[in-house]
């Protein structure tokens, strides 16, 4: 296998708190591993070594998305493991955890194995299946977590099909301890949410669209934190969107509970005001909230209350979104825009570059007990190059996802992934596209 030498970049490795200015370090990759991280001099590379000039770029551990919908099997018209995996590497993600709401549902080891087999053949990014927590996502009978873990599942979640029954949720959390994996929850009281499609408040009142109150999320976050305390399980709260939920998570962590949390790029940067034009690409679950919620989420990400940024990449066909606002399925694309969109938090000083990468990579590796998130010698050679100041125009039609449902479509974004290395192979280059499958 070829060797790759990366030079001239700014090396950011949260796992070792390393932030080397351009020219101060070189990274040598061989046989899928980081074999040298030189900080002195510029050794003359051996013949046959591919040299990657990272001038103007950050060199970071490959990003890891703990929450994406890749739609295979069953909804390949929206996305499949090839298109989703390609969108991932184009966005700097070398590992992606995919949710269980496929058809059939990933609630059986055979489905988990199918996804892994297909991903092995088709996806340039490494795919980490999340299995369902209950059979058929019905919230009634728990899945065979031990067998699913054995088959390759890395976490358990019913995601959008929130487990309403607290007794079932309790058993799921208890049992998950045996599988030693996190349980990811989409916290929402479905009865209180009702038909709500936008945040309840001024925007829902002005638009005349059914509102979804922050309390619907917060009630379920409160319940699940109590159940985490009762069971001692590892609870991970997906796409936190309200200031009230942040507050409860912070208290739970202070109390020593094993509670972790994620936030999406859109909940960090958009508000319910962005829905004012009835653009269905802004319909997400949970809904976009108020500016005060966005501010609280940013603070929580900075102070560690929220561990990771997760895309909740949710592709939908155009024709599914070109309908009444209330009929449009919730969700938006995220893999190809996450870095550019979230770099806003670096630009406004919320996060330093190294803390930014920690929340997109190192913390995610820890959360899912995955190899990665590091540039240390001996680490798996998953690396991304990010040019933080490069401006580009995002056109989903020219992107790699099969779908186009993005509120950033047609916008100029700043910050671009220019190269992605997976297991030591340069797999994506933004000028040449996908190089190897």
């Amino acid at each position: 296998m070829s060797k790759i030498l990366i030079r001239n970049g700014r090396f950011l490795d949260p796992s070792t708190d390393t932030d080397l200015p351009p020219g101060a370090g070189e990274l040598l990759i061989e046989n899928g591993r980081v074999v040298a991280f030189e900080t002195g001099g510029n050794p003359i590379p051996e013949e046959g070594t591919e040299i990657l000039d990272a001038e103007g770029a950050w060199v970071v551990p490959g990003l890891i998305d703990v929450h994406a919908h890749l739609r295979e099997p069953g909804q390949e018209y929206k996305e499949d493991l090839a298109s989703g995996g390609t969108a991932a590497v184009a966005g700097g993600f070398t590992q992606v955890a995919c949710m269980a709401n496929t058809a059939p549902v990933n609630d059986d080891p055979s489905v988990t194995k199918y996804i892994l087999d297909r991903a092995e053949k088709e996806s340039p990014a490494k795919i980490r299946p999340i299995a369902a927590a209950t059979q058929g996502l019905l919230g009634e009978v728990m899945t065979e977590m031990v067998a699913l873990k054995e088959a390759g599942a890395i976490a358990f979640s019913d995601d959008g099909a929130t487990i309403s029954d607290a007794a079932v949720m309790r058993r799921v959390l208890e049992y998950s301890r045996m599988a030693d994996a996190i349980v990811i929850v989409h916290a929402e009281d479905c009865a209180l949410r009702g038909a709500g499609v936008v945040n309840e408040g001024t925007v829902s009142t002005k638009l005349g669209l059914p509102g979804n109150p922050a309390a619907a999320e917060e009630i379920m976050v409160a319940r699940d934190i109590r159940l985490a305390a009762l069971t001692g399980a590892k609870l991970h709260i997906a796409h936190v969107s309200t200031a009230g939920a942040v507050h409860m998570i912070r208290k739970a962590r202070e109390a020593g509970l094993l509670v972790t949390a994620e936030v999406t790029p859109h909940h960090l940067t958009l508000t319910d005001e962005d829905t004012m034009g009835f653009d269905t690409s802004t319909r997400v679950a949970p809904p976009l909230r108020r500016q005060t919620d966005v501010d609280a989420l940013r603070r929580a990400l900075a102070d560690g209350t929220i561990d990771v940024i997760a895309t909740d990449h949710a592709p939908h066909a155009s024709y599914e979104k070109e309908v009444e606002f209330t009929e449009a399925p919730p969700g938006m694309l995220g893999l190809e825009t996450a870095v550019a969109v979230c770099l806003d938090l670096v630009r406004d000083g919320t996060l330093t570059p190294i803390e930014f990468i920690r929340r997109l990579s190192t913390n995610a590796a820890g959360l899912l007990s995955l190899e990665g998130g590091s540039l240390k010698v001996g680490s798996v050679a998953d690396v991304a190059l990010i040019e933080p100041n490069q401006e580009w125009n995002y056109d989903p039609a020219r992107g790699f996802s099969k779908s186009r449902n993005s509120p950033w479509a047609g916008q100029s974004l700043t910050g671009r992934v220019t190269a992605t290395i997976v297991d030591g192979r340069l797999i994506y280059d933004h000028e040449r596209g996908v190089l190897i499958r």
Binding site: G277, E322, E324
Partner: protein, 307 residues
Amino acid sequence: MIGRDILGIEDLSREDIDTILETAERMQEIGNREVKKVPTLRGRTVINLFFEPSTRTQTSFEIAGKRLAADVVNFSVSGSSVSKRETLLDTAKTLDAMDPDAVVVRHKVAGVPHRLAKVLKAPVINAGDGAHEHPSQALLDMLTVREQKGRIEGLTITIIGDIAHSRVARSNIYGFKKLGAEVRVAGPPTMLPADVEKSLGVKAYTNLAEAIEGADVVMALRIQMERLEGACFPSVREYAATFGLDRAKLRYAKEDAIVMHPGPVNRGVELSHDLADDRPSVILDQVRNGVALRMALLYLVAGRGGH
């Protein structure tokens, strides 16, 4: 205003509203003629695109178009685009290919006319979108108040009922406020939308007497009894007792206050039987003005050369 979409009162300026009302006042005269027809929109096609049945509004638009000699075509669709497997974009493109001069849209979901307007070349008139806006209703209400009171500036207008689910309430709030009136809303808290005072710039009441104290105009909204009873109020009887208007309660309002209702009235619920029929209620004036107002809208957006 030729070619302009009329999607909501929130988007109209005070000048736009004045133009529309003045044009409607000129149109009223046509309705009094023996031959109620002028050739103004001859050769023009108006499509009434109704995704939700509404005999009254559809008929009003149809008569308005016909009095201006337009060819009015009713295009009724039932069910959501998902159930039909036809996107709104498909619908818009199909209509566009028929080259209408104006499209009047009614839909039970907020925002649909706005989405169609982005694609359609012809101007779109919103005839009611979900709980969002119903601009022609608000404009005919403003026309009626101006006719009855001689002005709108400085009046106090109270809207009673299910504000949360009412497009009529939202459009009237925007319109009357733009013309300088004070607007109050009243209803059970379960029927007031979130942050109503801050969001819509009105004062909200849960007590009818306080809400109509000194009001010049009292507007009752139709209650969707079948949908809301048991959910937003415990019983029709309790609603009628707390928010139903009768002559005794009306005494809290100004002596010369008028009573309005977008119709159809649930008699004995929003309004007592006698109040629905006689002065000071102006319900039939509203209906009559509806035709003139819609003539004005069609003329302004689809007329040749404008006024």
